[in-house]
């Protein structure tokens, strides 16, 4: 059993109103010095078989096909053993 972690974030040029709302809430709670917050999604995927290059390639495909919308989002894939 291998584990894949995919992080999906809005592209830097896309406005992230949720992140901004969190930023403002942190300020209200007294957390000083927080200058920016971006909110994203994390997927933890369990897959049968070895954690190898083939799995990395399939995980890239999963992310590009479904998990992220490449018009507005970027993703990173990490294969864990």
């Amino acid at each position: 059993m291998a584990r894949v972690v995919v992080d999906v974030m809005l592209k830097p040029e896309i406005l992230d109103p949720q992140g901004q709302a969190v930023l403002h809430a942190l300020g209200r709670l007294g957390f000083d010095g927080v200058s920016a917050v971006r909110q994203g999604k994390r997927f933890e995927i369990e897959v049968d078989g070895p954690a190898d290059a083939d799995l990395a390639a399939r995980a890239e495909q999963m992310a590009a096909t479904l998990l992220a919308n490449l018009v507005i989002e970027d993703f990173t894939v990490r294969v864990e053993g």
Binding site: I14, L15, P17, Q18, A21, L66, L67, N69, V71, I72
Partner: protein, 225 residues
């Protein structure tokens, strides 16, 4: 026989019945389509209605895009069949890459529900030929993720090719780039918009009957096809 318009119901669709009613009021015959259907039952056009297909899980429209019916819709749309996506339907059309760009969370973070003034920018589509260019209409708008975004090059292309179909008038309700409320594909047969013309087809229940033109446009075109 009156032209047939398929209205797709996904799990979580809300406005499929209103869309079907709008088609009937415009003089068309409705064929209900189900998300698991693999073919279009010979319809002449398709409406993807508003709602929260598959609970809007992952991203609005992202799961619906891979439903069996959408394979058929995408194929038919590429061959020229008129397809209208309203609200969630617009999101599905963007996720399906039938239309460029994407819909993101409203910049206000608030769900917006109001009667919205719009300008019809293009009447050269299958769904807007009943209007006159520049016509101002009022139809309901109700969305939480209706902010239209695309890169600058795509926005410039849409403008240059006359593919911005409707634009918000007055205060921008959701942060859409260039106040874009709806767009078309290059051929003009596929149109997506966030506002709800199907909720403005009868004076009893709508703020106006301004929305009826979307449905009479496509029926007129099909009759003369």
């Amino acid at each position: 026989m009156a032209p047939t318009v398929g209205v797709v119901t996904f799990p979580g669709s809300l406005d499929d019945r209103d869309a079907a009613r709008a088609v009937r009021l415009a003089g068309g015959q409705v064929v209900p389509l189900w998300h698991k259907d693999t073919h279009l039952m010979g319809v002449d056009a398709v409406v993807l209605p508003g709602g929260f297909s598959y609970g809007d899980y992952l991203r609005c429209g992202a799961i619906a895009r891979f439903s069996p019916i959408m394979s058929a819709v995408v194929g038919a749309a590429r061959e020229g069949m008129p397809v209208l996506g309203i609200c969630n339907g617009f999101q599905i059309l963007c996720e399906s890459h039938l239309l460029p760009g994407a819909l993101t969370r409203n910049d206000s973070l608030h769900f917006v529900c109001r009667d919205q003034a719009l300008r019809i920018e293009s009447t050269a589509t299958a769904w807007t030929s009943a209007y006159v260019p520049g016509q101002e209409v009022v139809v309901p708008l109700k969305n939480g993720e209706g902010g239209y975004v695309a890169d600058e090059r795509t926005l410039d292309e849409l403008e240059a090719e006359g593919r911005v179909v409707v634009r918000y008038l007055g205060a921008n309700p959701n942060g859409s780039r260039r106040a874009i409320a709806g767009i078309a594909n290059a051929a003009g047969n596929v149109v997506g918009l966030m506002p709800h013309p199907e909720h403005a087809v009868e004076s009893l229940t709508g703020p106006t009957t301004d929305g009826l033109g979307f449905f009479t446009s496509v029926l007129e075109r099909l009759v003369h096809a």
